[in-house]
């Protein structure tokens, strides 16, 4: 589905991302972990053509993202709250996104109905603009908006951060269900090792812009990751 070749991003003299080759298969749920500054958001921004690669390119379902716009219809994402339109109510925002993705009101309503639990009664019918919602609720709205229109590729940057525990658990369930669909590729980044290992089939660790680990998730994965990051911090995890 997604092929990355020879990709790098350089700011000044600093190489913030350098990936020689990475292939993400269709239907895979892909987790990205790494410390601050590891290059997670840079990689996602490159995937969405929000920044320009210094070298190399990304091909999303046969479309090179920095030369053609044709990846947009089947790719959706939520990176941060700059993806929300503050002066709309959540409903209006969902319908707007629905419009962009060829979904009518009824389609969107049907989709939203599935997420009643996730919203916890705090999003729909509140008579509030998105800019007046709390950070956590804004995030919920943004995440659900990225599911509108049956996207083939869903990119979520730090979806678990800022959410309350109940919502985190619900979100894990939602992502798992999404990933279970054969043709949907989900890309998630997180600082929370437990969440990613639970949700993703494959985990890539970035460190200072370089890919240092590429793991098929198994029961051993969490331990392996903890050992890796423990070593980074200087405290070796004792078995």
């Amino acid at each position: 589905m997604i092929t990355i070749e020879n990709l790098s991003k350089i700011y000044g003299s600093q190489k913030v991302l350098n990936i020689e080759s990475l292939q993400i298969l269709t239907g895979q749920s892909f987790g990205l972990v790494g410390n601050n500054g590891a290059g997670k958001t840079t990689l996602f921004s490159l995937l969405l053509d929000l920044i320009q690669p210094s070298t190399g390119h990304i091909i999303n379902n046969g479309v090179q993202v920095n030369t053609s716009e044709d990846w947009k219809p089947f790719t959706s994402s939520f990176i941060d709250e700059t993806f929300l339109i503050g002066y709309l109510t959540p409903e209006e925002y969902f319908y707007f996104i629905g419009d962009l993705r060829g979904q009518n009101k009824a389609d969107v309503d049907k989709l939203l109905a599935q997420y009643q639990d996730f919203f916890h009664g705090e999003i729909l019918g509140q008579k509030k603009y998105l800019r007046d919602l709390s950070k956590g609720n804004q995030k919920k709205a943004g995440i659900v908006a990225s599911f509108i229109g049956k996207p083939k590729v869903v990119i979520l940057d730090e979806p678990f951060a800022n959410l309350d525990p109940t919502t985190q658990i619900r979100l894990k369930q939602i992502i798992k269900e999404l990933a279970a669909q054969q043709d949907v590729t989900v890309l998630v980044s997180s600082h929370d090792l437990i969440h990613v290992t639970e949700v993703c089939e494959r985990i890539v660790v970035l460190n200072k812009g370089e890919m240092v680990k590429d793991i098929e998730t198994s029961t051993e994965t969490l331990k392996e990751l903890e050992v890796f990051f423990g070593a980074e911090s200087g405290n070796v995890v004792v078995e």
């Binding site: 969405l48 053509d49 929000l50 920044i51 320009q52 716009e69 947009k72 219809p73 790719t75 959706s76 994402s77 990176i79 700059t82 993806f83 929300l84 339109i85 503050g86 002066y87 709309l88 109510t89 409903e91 209006e92 707007f96 996104i97 419009d99 962009l100 993705r101 509140q126 008579k127 509030k128 603009y129 800019r131 007046d132 229109g149």
Partner: protein, 489 residues
């Protein structure tokens, strides 16, 4: 502590990534300010002789005292529009060991150094110097100046208290008009009533204490008020407004563009800055009256072309010059969503088109001043449609500065950069030059014809031009995304 606050302010300005551009604006504004100050100083120096000329039988000091009450009201009125309230990002300081009283004093103290306080001084001081040269007693004049400074500071702090309250503004406006009316029709002389009050500042030097203590008192009230507002929730409380959802399903008729159109309309309607932009645009329909009713402009056709371009294109220039910065707070979403750039630009173009047609319809009554007026406005509207829309969209691709939508437009330079000054050249000046050339060589019909034909050609080439502009936006996309992310300081 004051020094540290100032250095922070200094750093936030100089370390901003679009420093070059804001510096440019500051310099232009600075030149403008210096020019204003110099003219005021010249007026102040000359005022002594002017007043002597107009009122030969009374002392200029008395004459100026008569009008002082109007000066004060006018200044309050103007400051409402022009003066920015001093702001400082207090959030980071709330949890640091900085006394809240220090923050309050700093904010208030900084506003005392505002350029608007200098305006009056630049007028008063040269005036006082000429008084001294003309043998007025030194002590009285000096203390008079001090008294005026007290009044200016009082005005400054009263303005902070009023805090952009519309009702007070209307009240001041009414007072001004009422006072002037009473004076003019000789019912009751406000001038004569207040003259001794202000003249006393000069005649009895001891009275200087009154304006000084007044200023101190208002400062104290401000301080009390501000000191109690330095909390997070005090700042946030009034922000949340109940959403008014409107269906606007009629926009669907515009097909694919409908949803963008709907979004733009909501944006305009739900945000302070864009909303006032619309009101201002509507008011400018009356701008033509200034020119059409005055005898001296009746033969100056180029002036009428200017008015025509201006009236039909006011929304075009006011709104258009900040495309796409209006969408800056969610621009990265727009760029990664399923929105082809071209559709996005096309919908902006349609919105402006509608505004031009609408403004043209509003200017129809100018036919009262003759068919010429209608013809000129029509030609100008066509030119705006065909030529100026692509031009303004093209220049929009140079916008890199974020706009916070929910801030007031008056004196708000957010999002402004050298681009905004540059874009006005082709939009306003070029059509007027073209018009003038053809008008003076041939006649009115040819001049209007040329504008119309250019407009129609532009309109016919719309698709091709839009293609070029789309390419330009794609090229500039990354710079825009990065620029819009940066919060304006």
């Amino acid at each position: 502590m004051f020094k540290r606050f100032s250095s922070l302010q200094w750093k936030s300005f100089f370390r901003s990534s679009n420093l070059g551009k804001s510096l440019g604006i500051k310099i232009v504004m600075g030149f403008f300010g210096v020019y204003m100050l110099l003219s005021l100083a010249a007026a102040g120096a000359g005022m002594y002789f002017i007043l002597k000329e107009i009122f030969p039988d009374q002392s200029p000091m008395w004459s100026i005292s008569q009008y002082f009450i109007y000066w004060i009201l006018m200044e309050l009125f103007l400051r409402y529009f022009m003066q920015k309230l001093p702001v400082m990002d207090i959030k980071p300081f709330l949890t640091t060991p900085v006394k809240k009283s220090t923050i309050a004093h700093y904010i208030l103290g900084r506003s005392a150094a505002s350029i608007y306080n200098l305006l009056t001084l630049f007028f008063i001081v040269p005036f006082a110097i000429t008084l001294l040269f003309n043998g007025y007693p030194v002590l009285n004049v000096l203390l008079w100046v001090v008294g005026i400074i007290g009044i200016v500071l009082s005005i400054n702090y009263v303005n902070l208290l009023i805090n952009k309250n519309d009702k007070v503004l209307i009240g001041i406006g009414i007072l001004l008009a009422l006072g002037y009316g009473l004076d003019y029709f000789g019912v009751f002389s406000i001038k004569e009533f207040f003259a001794p009050v202000f003249h006393a500042l000069y005649a009895y030097p001891i009275t200087v204490l009154i304006p000084m203590s007044l200023a101190a008192l208002i400062y104290y009230v401000n301080y009390k008020f501000l000191r109690n507002k330095i909390y997070l929730d005090a700042k946030l409380k009034t922000k949340s407004v109940e959403a008014n959802t409107s269906d606007m399903s009629w926009t669907k008729r515009f097909g694919e563009m409908g949803s963008f159109l709907q979004l733009d309309l909501k944006m305009i309607w739900r945000n302070k800055r864009t909303k006032s932009q619309v009101y201002i645009s509507l008011l400018f329909v009356f701008y033509g009256l200034v020119f059409y009713t005055q005898e001296m402009y009746s033969s100056m056709m180029p002036m009428k072309a200017f008015v025509g371009i201006f009236m039909t294109g006011i929304f075009l220039s006011n709104f258009g010059q900040f495309i796409p910065a209006w969408d800056s707070s969610y621009y990265s979403m727009m760029m990664s969503q399923n929105i082809p750039m071209r559709k996005y630009l096309e919908s902006k173009g349609s919105l402006i088109t509608v505004s031009i047609v609408f403004m043209f319809l509003l200017t129809l009554p100018y036919v009262y001043f003759g068919w010429d007026a209608l013809a000129i406005n029509f030609g100008c509207a066509l030119y705006n449609l065909g030529v100026n829309i692509p031009v303004i969209l093209y220049f929009g691709s140079f916008n890199k500065k974020r706009i916070e939508l929910d801030q007031s437009p008056f004196g708000n330079m957010q999002g402004a950069s050298a681009t905004q000054f540059l874009v006005m050249l082709p939009v306003l000046i070029v059509p007027i030059i073209l018009f003038s050339i053809f008008y003076y060589i041939f006649n009115l019909e040819v001049a209007v014809g040329v504008l119309s034909v250019l407009g129609i050609i532009g309109f016919a080439m719309k698709n091709y031009l839009l293609g070029l502009i789309t390419e330009q936006y794609k090229k500039k996309k990354y710079g825009m995304i990065a620029g819009f992310k940066e919060k304006a300081s």
